[in-house]
């Protein structure tokens, strides 16, 4: 039996249905991310699990126990907010101790537990500081320690990294993941950052307009997007217009070039239009794979570790990425080049 079960969950604000009949089971110890653009309903689901919003329909149960009659304060969950949720009038120690004090834990136990938590986030030396004396990253680590101190059965993270600088964001997400693994706590993480979700999660739920477009492991989501929305929201994707050449041979024509696909074109007839998707990193200039596209270079931009080149192929623009190296020759605009890739990387886009 799953640990956290969301069944037929719905939420409407007035006439707007924000969450539409959502179902999901989360196992004990799993790290699940809800990924989607703002307004897709991901935060609303988190807030319903926390008890801040009352579902318009459906049930939430944790460890088999229905939560609908419980207030937030009775659900025994830990929550980390986007930012600025530390109590400004308390120092780090008192912030972390707050949940334990409210629960009436004896003082010596509180002290031991707070010390343990501060050790976990490696901020023992800052116990006397007030929130305004901490950096954003430190504040969020204290918020994590505060949420974990009362040993919650579930950890909820509401975009805890989005207010931080890029470098701190990366190191803190690794730290969160490591602490989560260490404690084995079931965690639900909400984010709009695809790289964050891909790097941290056991499973990802890609939300779109109130329902889950796809639920799967990071590599499933990235390599086998179920819908056009998932494909375009997760990573960068080239959309290439083509027409079916021979359905039986699974060939398509891009401009005047013939390409054989690995998947079936379905019940499309010759000359039917078809949209193909190709990830920029799947193609390269060096010979590999079984497919080739020839095109004229439109532009090549140096992005740091990566050089992104755009070429025109039969009316579509195709971008591809190469890792930079000091001896790399940048393709010049106007030049004709051959792009190599594996035909298996060419996906047929379904809408």
């Amino acid at each position: 039996m799953s640990f956290l079960a969301l069944e037929n969950l719905q939420k409407s604000f007035g006439a707007v249905q924000v969450v539409k009949d959502f179902n999901m089971s989360i196992e004990k110890g799993e790290f699940v991310s809800f990924l989607g653009p703002s307004g897709c309903g991901k935060t609303t689901i988190l807030r319903m699990i926390a008890g801040f919003e009352t579902p318009s329909g459906g049930t939430i149960s944790i460890n088999g126990k229905d939560q609908s009659r419980l207030k937030t304060s009775q659900r025994n969950i830990g929550m980390v907010f986007q930012a600025y949720a530390l109590f400004p009038n308390m120092n780090v120690f008192d912030n972390v101790a707050f949940g334990l004090k409210v629960a009436g834990t004896p003082k010596t136990q509180i002290e031991a537990r707070v010390k343990e938590m501060l050790a976990l986030i490696r901020l023992e030396h800052l116990a006397d500081r007030y929130p305004y004396q901490l950096s954003g990253g430190q504040q969020q680590r204290v918020a994590l320690a505060r949420a974990l101190a009362p040993k919650p059965q579930l950890l909820l993270l509401d975009e805890p990294l989005s207010a931080l600088d890029a470098k701190i964001r990366i190191s803190l997400r690794e730290e969160i993941r490591q602490i989560q693994r260490q404690l084995g706590i079931t965690t639900v993480f909400v984010t709009h950052d695809q790289e964050e979700a891909l790097s941290i999660s056991d499973r990802i739920v890609v939300m779109n307009a109130g329902h889950a477009d796809q639920i799967g492991s990071p590599s499933e989501i990235y390599n086998h997007p179920a819908t056009r929305f998932v494909a375009s929201f997760v990573g960068t994707l080239n959309m290439i217009d083509a027409v079916v050449a021979d359905p039986a041979a699974q060939t398509v024509r891009i401009g005047d070039q013939l390409i054989a696909l690995r998947e079936s074109v379905g019940n499309r007839k010759p000359s039917d239009p078809i949209t193909l998707a190709l990830r920029p990193e799947a193609a390269s200039l060096s010979e590999h794979g079984d497919a080739t596209l020839r095109g004229e270079v439109i532009s090549a931009s140096f992005l740091g570790s990566v050089v992104r080149t755009k070429i025109a192929v039969g009316g579509s623009t195709v971008s591809f990425d190469m890792f930079n190296s000091p001896d790399l020759r940048m393709p010049a605009p106007g030049e004709d080049i051959n792009l190599h890739f594996s035909s298996g990387d060419l996906l047929i886009v379904r809408d």
């Binding site: 937030t72 830990g78 929550m79 949720a85 109590f87 949940g99 409210v102 007030y130 305004y132 009362p150």
Partner: protein, 263 residues
């Protein structure tokens, strides 16, 4: 242009100072002239020794304290609840707190007198306590805009919703949240609202005069009509008190600035 900026800046400041302080300076200078030919504090001594001064002043202080307590009891929970749960009601509440600024005090008093006169269902004006209560409620009304704004500003500096939710997720109930999380963070705002209320009540004239209560405002006016130097001494004293209150507000707000910056 930098020079021009500076000149205009100083001109504005100096103009402001003159606007307020030249009258006060004149006032102060004259109040020292009670003894012919030399400056002296005679007028102050006489004023401070006047038993009426002591009586009216302590009456007004008492009324100010009562007003502050009523104001805090009304304003703090209202402002918290409006911020947290009824953001849609904010324009209405703000509109309501504007009313006392624009409804003349006289209108309010006439309304009170009419409503609570000796022949009404609640004859407040028939007894001293009743009239005092009426006055206190009138003062509360006058002070409401300032008190509400001060507290609301205080609440704005913390993220009320998030802090409340954080405390809830840690198992805290409403009382714990108010006592341990919200109140400690708005104390400076509440204090500054209280000082402002104090200053307003001490100097108020219309309400007290029309309800015929022995407050400091009417006393000031009575003295003004009958004595030569004392009214000026009294004005200086009144000014000193309000100045003290303002200074306290500044102190409190400076103190609160040293506390955590938020959002």
């Amino acid at each position: 242009m930098s020079l021009l900026t500076r000149i205009i800046g100083w001109a504005v400041l100096i103009f402001g100072l003159l606007y307020f302080f030249v009258p006060l300076g004149g006032l102060f200078e004259f109040s020292l002239r009670a003894r012919r030919g030399v400056y002296s504090l005679d007028a102050y001594v006489r004023v401070l020794a006047d038993p009426q001064f002591q009586a009216t002043f302590s009456y007004s202080v008492f009324m100010a304290l009562v007003t502050i307590v009523i104001g805090i009891l009304i304003v703090v929970p209202t402002a918290f609840w409006v911020r947290l749960k009824m953001p849609w009601a904010r324009p209405y509440v703000e509109f309501m707190t504007l009313l006392p600024l624009v409804i003349p005090a006289i209108v309010i008093v006439f309304g009170y007198i009419r409503l609570y006169n000796t022949s009404s269902w609640l004859p407040l004006t028939g007894s001293l306590t009743g009239t005092n209560a009426l006055l206190a409620f009138g003062y509360t009304m006058l002070a409401l805009p300032y008190m509400y704004r001060a507290v609301d500003t205080g609440l704005r500096t913390i993220d009320v919703a998030t802090l409340t939710e954080a405390a809830q997720s840690l198992g805290a109930g409403w009382i714990t949240i108010l006592r341990r999380v919200i109140l400690p963070n708005v104390v400076p705002a509440v204090l500054s609202g209280a000082f402002l209320t104090f200053a307003i009540v001490i100097g108020e004239f219309t309400l007290a005069a029309l309800l015929d209560r022995p407050a400091f405002g009417p006393y000031l006016q009575r003295i003004g009509a009958n004595k030569a130097y004392e009214p000026f001494a009294l004005s200086v004293i009144a000014f000193g008190i309000t100045w003290g209150c303002l200074a306290l507000i500044q102190l409190v707000s400076r103190f609160s600035k040293m506390a955590p910056p938020r959002i």
